[in-house]
Subunit: 264 residues, 2 copies
């Protein structure tokens, strides 16, 4: 099972839109995908149309109550299984704070599922706290959605620092394997400049860094209002507007993701 | 001195872009403005071109070391004074946590300055933690930047809850006085729907709520790449592209802000 965390502590850069629609595109390409909502805002949960009743268990129960992933996972699409989140997750960081091995609760909860799915994708909150550290300690790959804007780049070094720290302390196989430009207006000089800067930065990475060999995806997700509309219907872009640029972009991104060389 | 917190815990919705460019527009309309960067990300500080040396004091020193606002404030423009932020501000919430009256440190630091400026604007971090509570306890008005997207609306009730709580516990004069749509694509059905929903929501507010009488500004800030470019030059939109839609929109927003009826 390929394991991928979609992470960036900067808010509103396309994490959820990417996690959900990439997962949906991979499913349409024949993959079995597990999508985990690890954000107390529960936007991925909303996006796929899951409505939670008071009895429903979520990723909070997995992390804090020892529930099994299988007790919370829901099939929302042919091969798309989602572990939903609920606002109570906001308490998880505090409740886990004093526990031994608090950074690897998620990794251990997922151990039994590696044969069940081809890919697991985690939608992270805009934060580098304990929940996000759990995501990083549970995956081998990190995808960073980036908005090609100046202010949006400012937090990148802190994110790479955190990935490096988790790799060194908890998970040697962890690396940044992909960077995807989201909400991209490629016709602007600003975007072109930032594409160039980021590609250059990744190309010149020292071999021992956590982002050496990362792929800056050729596919850039264009601004497309359909992508902002479909969450309000609880649908992925493929269910809502399969012919749109948004659908096209996530379809080609999925193809690039599947074509990535895997470490042996 | 009118006191305004620009706040929304959702990331990347236009808080900094609004705080900085509205402040600059008000200065060009003849107002004396104090802009406070209350975000450890320090984007407002970057946006106005302030580069901090190791000796420079910031809002962190005001909150945690008892420095005076005057020791940190810098004139960056004719009448625009900025209190910068630095990443060390991230420690402030922890360092203030055990202090008595920890929610009103900022309010008390500002007491001596009410005659110095016509307006004070605070750029908040995407969070509802102790720093943002300090912002709310230091102002009479809240401006909420909103992206007219479905997911962007999800956190609004939590924000209004927090404003209400600070008003009831610490600052009776506090109210949401303005809502400004940012990064708006008015030609889309999604935006039109959300404008309508938000206007309806505000109109039907019960009289005792913290947002009764709030103005949903007619001025909507259109998407304009110039607004995303100018922070990389350390300039406001007026210094960078005075003829752009971005400059036009913040100019008309400033006019609306100055035309707002003030409580007697
Ligand atoms: N390519 C796109 N075109 C248009 N709108 C988009 C696009 N990608 C995302 N959006 C919209 O922009 C907003 C932010 O995107 P999204 O929620 O995916 O970001 P995020 O990084 O997950 O945010 P958060 O940090 O709050 O979790 C949402 O309203 C989303 O619907
Ligand atoms: N009207 C606009 N048109 C184009 N780009 C914009 C516009 N407003 C803001 N931006 C850009 O969008 C990004 C997010 O805006 P901004 O930083 O102002 O949001 P924020 O709410 O302050 O974010 P944060 O939550 O990280 O503090 C920035 O890169 C900014 O330059
Ligand atoms: Mg999200
Ligand atoms: Mg900001």
């Amino acid at each position: 099972m390929r394991t991928i965390a979609v992470i960036n502590q900067k808010g509103g850069v396309g994490k959820t839109t990417t996690a959900v629609n990439l997962a949906a595109a991979l499913v349409r390409a024949g993959q079995r995908v597990l999508l985990i909502d690890l954000d107390p805002q529960s936007h991925a949960t909303l996006h796929v149309g899951i409505e939670l009743g008071s009895e429903d268990r979520t990723i909070y129960d997995v992390l804090v109550r020892g529930a099994a992933i299988a007790e919370t996972a829901r099939l929302v699409d042919d091969r798309l299984t989602v572990v939903p989140a609920h606002l109570d997750l906001v308490a998880a960081e505090i409740e886990l704070a004093d526990q031994p091995e608090r950074e690897t609760v998620l990794a251990r909860a997922l151990q039994a599922y590696h044969e069940h799915y081809d890919l697991m994708i985690i939608d992270c909150a805009p934060s580098l706290g304990l929940l996000s550290v759990n995501a990083l300690a549970a995956v081998d790959e990190v995808f960073i959605p980036l908005q090609p804007h100046f202010l949006a780049l400012q937090g990148l070094s802190k994110l790479l620092e955190t990935v490096t720290m988790v790799r060194d302390a908890l998970r040697p196989a962890l690396r940044v394997s992909g960077v995807v430009f989201c909400m991209s207006e490629s016709a602007t000089r600003l975007a072109q400049e930032i594409y160039g800067d980021v590609e250059q930065f990744v190309r010149s990475a020292e071999p021992e860094t956590a982002w050496a060999g990362a792929i800056v995806f050729n596919t850039r997700i264009r601004r497309n209002i359909k992508l902002a509309e479909c969450p309000s219907f609880g649908k992925t872009i493929f269910e809502y507007a399969a012919g749109s640029h948004g659908a096209e972009d996530y379809r080609t991104l999925a193809a690039e993701v599947l074509a990535m060389a895997q470490p042996t």
